[in-house]
């Protein structure tokens, strides 16, 4: 149980932006359960249509904070996002939560060239590689949601792991999540890497099947964050803490069984996702439909909002994104990584809020990835933190993450 902590927010009327995706859930819960009010905030949640718009509106102050793709504050602070207004995050908004989904037609072709690959799950890109080597002129198009997104880096890793060059052998395209299903259905794209509910909707409409979920590629990897500008965080420190406190409570409640069904109902409402309940609730309740012709598979950790330290702004996540930005050619200049990570991943703010709520928090800023194939306990913390598996099934990605572990020393 948390005890009520009083903040003295410098600013109480807040506009917070979100994209209509399942993982905006902590914001919706904090609103619907009156948690913002509990900490003295009056929040207006504003649905946005693009990540670029979210970045610009947060950057220029017409939004106070927003649901962001995890690498966005880093890209902004590095000045490589086209805008270059320094941003930061003290709250990670959930682990896992996305998938790579392929059109039914492509799946059929892949099955014909290499049926044995379909014996195992998740599906690797090996049959895709074989298909491409047989049809050299074929240009398949895969979409993701934004250049600076976990969805982009996971799609890259999935392709590269089978020896497919994402820049030469296929075409990568950015499409807003809400347009994915339509573009897949009319053949403009052959597959996509995006968050829920769009994978479930594509499967349920019979136009696609899931090849792999983000969870299966990397158990409990990062997804979204709450982003604010550096200027805003400096100007309104108490408001920032009150906001994190509300979201921490929301995230805790979200990992209670009764929270999941209720949030699915709220999310389906017109002001949030405006999508039928049945298309949202499956993965939130740990049931993920991979293909229309089979029953749902059990994936209890498809969405983690609080457990396994899901809310913690780990510097190791930031380190991974910097590595991926270099790997994909987005970042070419030298940076002082520890300094940058301190500025962007505000572990100090998280620690202070968690302390005042009586919740456990880490004493160190890094956690090792990959090496735990089953649940474990993070002990370098105010109280031990129960963690989930951190296994990475994709070889290429596993090697990259192991390199980072070595750097942590």
């Amino acid at each position: 149980m948390t005890h009520t902590t009083h903040y003295h927010p410098e600013k109480t009327e807040l506009n917070i932006g979100f994209l209509p995706l399942t993982d905006c859930a902590p914001l919706v819960v904090a609103q619907e359960r009156g948690l913002f009010e509990k900490y003295g905030l009056n929040v207006h949640l504003q649905r946005e249509v693009s990540w670029a718009n979210i970045r610009d509106r947060v950057g220029f102050g017409s939004l106070d904070a927003a649901h962001m793709l995890a690498p966005m504050p880093l890209a902004a602070s590095l000045g490589i996002d086209g805008l270059g207004i320094a941003m930061q995050s003290a709250f990670s908004m959930g682990l896992n939560g996305s998938a790579i989904t392929l059109s039914r037609g492509l799946m059929e072709e892949m099955k014909q060239v290499q049926p044995e690959s379909f014996q195992c799950s998740p599906l690797s890109a090996e049959p895709l590689k074989k298909l491409l080597s047989e049809q050299r002129d074929r240009k398949l198009v895969f979409a993701h949601v934004f250049p600076y997104s976990q969805h982009h880096y996971l799609l890259n890793a999935w392709l590269e792991n089978a020896g497919i060059d994402p820049h030469k052998d296929v075409e990568l395209r950015v499409i807003p999540p809400q347009q994915m299903v339509l573009k897949l259905a009319n053949g403009e794209i052959d597959g996509f890497s995006a968050g829920e509910p769009w994978n479930q909707i594509a499967v349920r409409q019979g136009v696609a099947s899931i090849a792999t979920t983000s969870y299966e590629m990397w158990n409990n990897g990062p997804g979204k964050v709450l982003g604010v500008t550096k200027q805003w965080a400096d100007q309104y420190p108490q408001t920032h803490q009150a906001l994190i406190a509300s979201l921490l409570e929301a995230a805790q409640w979200l990992d209670e069984p009764e929270g999941r069904l209720q949030v699915a109902e709220w999310l389906s409402q017109p002001e949030y996702l405006n999508v039928p309940l049945a298309q949202i609730s499956g993965p939130l309740l740990g049931q993920c439909l991979y293909s229309g012709d089979e029953p749902a598979r059990s994936l209890p950790d498809f969405n983690c909002f609080y457990r396994y330290g899901a809310t913690i702004p780990w510097h190791s996540h930031g380190q991974f994104f910097l590595q991926q930005m270099r790997h994909t050619g987005q970042l070419t200049h030298k940076v002082n990584e520890p300094e940058l990570l301190n500025a962007v991943y505000r572990m100090d703010v998280y620690q202070s809020v968690a302390e005042s709520l009586g919740l456990p928090y880490p004493m160190s800023q890094y956690k090792p990835e990959v090496i735990h194939q089953s649940p474990w306990v993070f002990k370098d913390a105010s109280q031990p933190i129960s963690m989930g598996s951190s296994w990475v099934a994709t070889d290429k990605l596993r090697q990259q993450l192991l390199q980072l572990n070595a750097q942590q020393g």
Binding site: V49, S50, W51, A52, N53, D56, R57, G59, F60, S62, G82, L83, G84, V145, F146, P147, H167, L172, R173, V174, I175, P176, Q178, Q179, E188, T328, G329, Q330
Partner: protein
């Protein structure tokens, strides 16, 4: 010749804006509606500047030009390179965004943006006014409904019912339409709507 690509789902607005921009002989305007594949259009015309509605989901697609398509010049967000804070604020308030080719420094860019901002602003105002009118109409409907319930259940005259709603609104520091909606919602929870 400055090549301007205008991406706007609002045909009326893009017509007006296109005509205004074309008044300058050294500006060439291409209008693209949101339904076409934007990347193909950008490749075809290679514009110097792309003016786009801020609320367009196509903006994320444009962002990817910076990193994905190495064969094209990298566009940057207009805000980042060219404008002062006030121009940026004005553009955001008007709901317009733009992308320009990296390194392009043209005085005419600013005049193009000024025209775009002014035009988007006019449409924004029209939209706001329309929404306000709609809101007022809705308020009237909701007040009528709440009055009806009060008249039926408390045997009040129309004027008395209205005065009671007005008092409810004032006591709670609300607008009368909002008070009426709250009242009707509360009554329907009690199953008391006839």
């Amino acid at each position: 010749m400055l090549k301007v690509m205008l991406v706007d789902g609002n045909a009326e607005r893009s017509d007006v804006l296109q005509n205004e921009l074309k008044a300058d002989d050294s500006v060439n305007v291409i209008v693209v509606d949101g339904s076409r594949d934007l990347m193909t259009e950008v490749r075809k015309y290679s514009p110097d500047i792309i003016i786009i509605e801020m609320a367009s989901p196509d903006r994320d697609t444009l962002e990817s030009l910076r990193t994905v398509n190495r064969e094209l010049p990298k566009p940057v967000v207009f805000f980042a390179e060219q404008s002062d804070y006030e121009t940026t604020q004005a553009a955001i308030n008007a709901g317009v965004s733009a992308y320009i080719v990296d390194g392009l420094s043209e005085n005419r860019l600013n005049s193009v943006m000024e025209v775009a901002i002014a035009r988007f602003k006019t449409f924004q105002q029209l939209k706001d006014e329309l929404e306000e009118t709609k809101g007022r109409l809705q308020d009237r409907k909701d007040v009528d409904k709440a009055k009806g319930i009060l008249m039926k259940h408390r045997q009040l005259s129309e004027e008395e019912a209205y005065q009671l709603l007005r008092k409810m609104a004032m006591d709670r520091n609300m607008k009368i339409g909002e008070a009426a909606r709250n009242f009707t919602a509360a009554m329907s929870l009690l199953g008391d709507i006839g």
